[in-house]
Symmetry: C2
Subunit: 213 residues, 2 copies
């Protein structure tokens, strides 16, 4: 399975949970295709590779599909994460309702500013950065979201790796590079979301429609 | 020029502006390579394709490079955007300092909630959704950021297209699909940032390191 297929499967999985939530029992390949932004033929091919078979004309049983995909996606595992840097974006993510349908929980935040970590209105505990190692170890968390200012991003990533974090979603405009893996260890996973860069590309693609893929 | 090269060039451009801001005058291919997360050979190849030549051993003049790249990137054009949905994430983006170095300005927000659009603490004017067409036309804005709840996203996108918006950065978990272009028109540009999906993929890649590209 390659990354593109993985992205599609997580999209099918999300769509299926939403369809189930509104009371549906059956789904057709073209419904999932619409939800994932691909063609129905791609959905059928993915399912056939995964040896998932629908009923002729009847589509797929949603509950059964969710069970099958959740095994493939390794659901049931804790999907806990922490937020490093509790400014406006960090706080918005602490309150973000879009994580829930995917079983992702923000369990703690970290900040250098005592005003931030002593704020009683935080929806999850926020700790001083000095307690990073201890709290990460106690919570057993492996994935962190970085929402610190640009100047602190690289340093923050190092501290997170030292504390045992294995996956980072980075919102700072610095592109964090994969950390060299220790012998016998898997490399850490880093996804960078550069909001300004995304916008800039939109402006550029509007100006020069020909450069689009 | 393909999209990957475009992404690299916007990254070089950002890095160059930052280097100039801290007083540097010259830059080497490997500096830009570090900033863009590619190898120095890729930087040299990109510049050679763009017919930008450095001095032997001396690297590139930062000011000259910025000028060249800004022509390629079509800078100088207004890069104004509006935010649709001024909840926590929308508000965080209104205050986001990371847009400034790229010349991107958030010039207005829109919301359905009078409590939100009447709030005097908003850093830019926030208008009721009912005034969308009128305000977008008056501001001449072509790009919008969607931070509305999932259930409102598809409908919001339609309203934006009708109001003349040509590019959308979508933060809602719904994958917005490209709008069919009218005859003779360029299709609209849509970038989807699905925060939960990004996190989910990180969890998945950590669990199954083999599926990574």
């Amino acid at each position: 399975m390659n990354s593109d297929m993985l992205i599609r499967i997580t999209r099918y999985y999300r769509a299926l949970n939403r369809l189930r939530a509104i009371g549906l029992e059956k789904v057709f390949a073209h419904n999932l295709a619409d939800a994932a932004g691909v063609s129905a033929a791609v959905v059928r091919k993915d399912f056939s590779l995964l040896e998932i078979h629908g009923q002729k004309r009847g589509g797929y049983e949603i509950t059964e599909l969710i069970e099958r995909l959740s095994v493939i996606l390794g659901k049931g595992e804790a999907q806990d994460t922490v937020i490093i840097g509790c400014g406006r974006i960090g706080k918005a993510l602490m309150h973000y309702s879009g994580f829930e349908p995917d079983g992702i929980r923000v369990v703690a935040g970290f900040d250098t500013d005592p005003v931030v970590y002593a704020d009683a209105s935080n929806p999850v505990p926020v700790y001083p950065m000095s307690r990073l190692d201890e709290v990460i170890a106690a919570l057993g968390v492996k994935v962190a979201i970085i929402t610190v200012p640009e100047s602190a991003a690289a340093d923050t990533a190092e501290k997170l790796f030292d504390a045992g974090i294995r996956g980072i979603l980075n919102f700072s405009p610095i592109t964090l590079k994969p950390h060299p893996a220790a012998p016998g260890e898997n490399p850490v996973v880093i996804h960078n979301i550069n909001i300004a860069l995304e916008l800039e590309q939109i402006f550029y693609e509007l100006q020069f429609p020909m450069v689009r893929k």
